[in-house]
């Protein structure tokens, strides 16, 4: 009979335990989020990352070892990005009705997301590599990470910045829009979907069905717009 210590040594080197832990942590944190009435601070992406990071730190597990298991989940980001075509296709009649406002707001909003990072980043003196990782932060994570690594940024850092941008947008959108006196829920949804991708879209659906629909449209379109605008902005403004 082998000892439990041997079992731990055996399991901690196999990908299985980290894949299982990632999926189970996600399920538990999603449940917690539902119990807390989807409070943006209990966002399951954020809480899952905190819990798993704590486990890695406490047990001195190198990230590479964890990722050997978690990569099976990570790989699905590509197909999930392609899958955004489906809701866009199903909602296309809705998009066509307000095509011009959507096109203009998409262009201006997407440029604002990138330019505000460049301006603020220069102001507070962010290092270059960090700035490159920051640029695509309003796009959905899979797309943002791909853009970041193609520019020489750090995809892991980009993933964290994308998630934080999602949570911040989801937290501030409702009080901010109420204070601005904006009652157009299509416009509010579009803004939060463009700024805060999937996390903002989930928040928009909690507030108003029309807001959720337009947030989903904005997320899909901004994935495309960001991947066109960011490489251009990086070349023109940061000079890569």
């Amino acid at each position: 009979m082998r000892s439990p210590v041997d079992l731990w040594v055996y399991l901690s080197t196999s990908p299985l335990i980290w894949l299982t832990l990632t999926v189970c942590t996600w399920i538990a944190m999603s449940e917690l989020s539902v119990r807390l009435k989807r409070n943006p601070l209990a966002n399951p992406v954020l809480t899952s990352i905190i819990v798993l990071s704590a486990v890695m730190t406490v047990f001195h597990i190198p990230y590479e070892k964890f990722f050997a298991g978690a990569q099976f989940v990570h790989f699905l980001l590509g197909p999930a990005t392609v899958a955004i075509a489906i809701p866009l296709y199903l909602q296309w009649d809705e998009v066509k009705r307000v095509l011009m406002p959507i096109a203009v707001a998409l262009l201006v909003g997407s440029v604002a997301a990138v330019l505000s990072v460049v301006a603020l980043g220069m102001l507070v003196g962010l290092p270059r590599e960090m700035m490159l990782s920051f640029l695509p932060k309003s796009a959905t994570a899979g797309v943002a990470m791909a853009i970041s690594s193609s520019l020489g940024g750090n995809p892991s850092l980009t993933a964290v910045l994308v998630i934080l941008t999602g949570i911040i947008g989801a937290l501030i959108v409702t009080p901010m829009m109420n204070r601005m006196g904006i009652r157009d829920y299509a416009a509010r949804g579009f803004a939060v979907g463009l700024t805060s991708h999937g996390i903002g879209t989930a928040r928009a659906y909690d507030v108003h069905a029309t807001a959720g629909l337009f947030a989903g449209i904005a997320m899909a379109l901004n994935a495309i717009a960001t991947s066109l605008i960011v490489p251009l902005a990086a070349r023109l403004l940061i000079g890569i």
Partner: protein, 122 residues
């Protein structure tokens, strides 16, 4: 379901291949998204819609989209040394940029809607 997954993988593969060949500065999956969107519309024109298999696969992935961000996000542990010193700067950029983007987008959307509604008398 399986056919739907195959379709998503196939379109990603098409997108990645196209990006590799043309050196487009756009991620392969985004090209895959655009190609699938075009294919779905062409299918509808040809009277072949709906596509329940692809819809099932897509909604399974998209309803748990958050899970897919987690592995990369845990990478923050190995980056902590780099991030710690920049923490206040990062916080300022994140919060202000999100607020600016929200405000600019919502105003532009409303202004553009008024402009085009007025123009076409809708």
């Amino acid at each position: 379901m399986l056919r739907g997954i195959a379709a998503l993988l196939l379109f990603q593969l098409l997108g990645e291949s196209l990006v590799f060949l043309t050196k487009l500065p756009v991620p392969g999956p985004v090209i895959g998204l655009v190609l699938l969107f075009v294919a779905l519309h062409m299918g509808r024109r040809a009277g072949r819609a709906p596509f329940p298999q692809v819809e099932t696969a897509a909604s399974a992935l998209l309803s748990n989209l958050g899970l897919l961000f987690v592995p990369a996000g845990v990478g923050i542990v190995s980056l902590w040394g780099v991030l710690e010193a920049q923490l206040p700067a990062i916080a300022v950029v994140l919060v202000v940029s999100a607020a600016v983007t929200l405000a600019v987008t919502v105003w532009t959307f409303i202004a553009a809607r008024r402009f085009f509604d007025g123009k076409w008398g809708a």
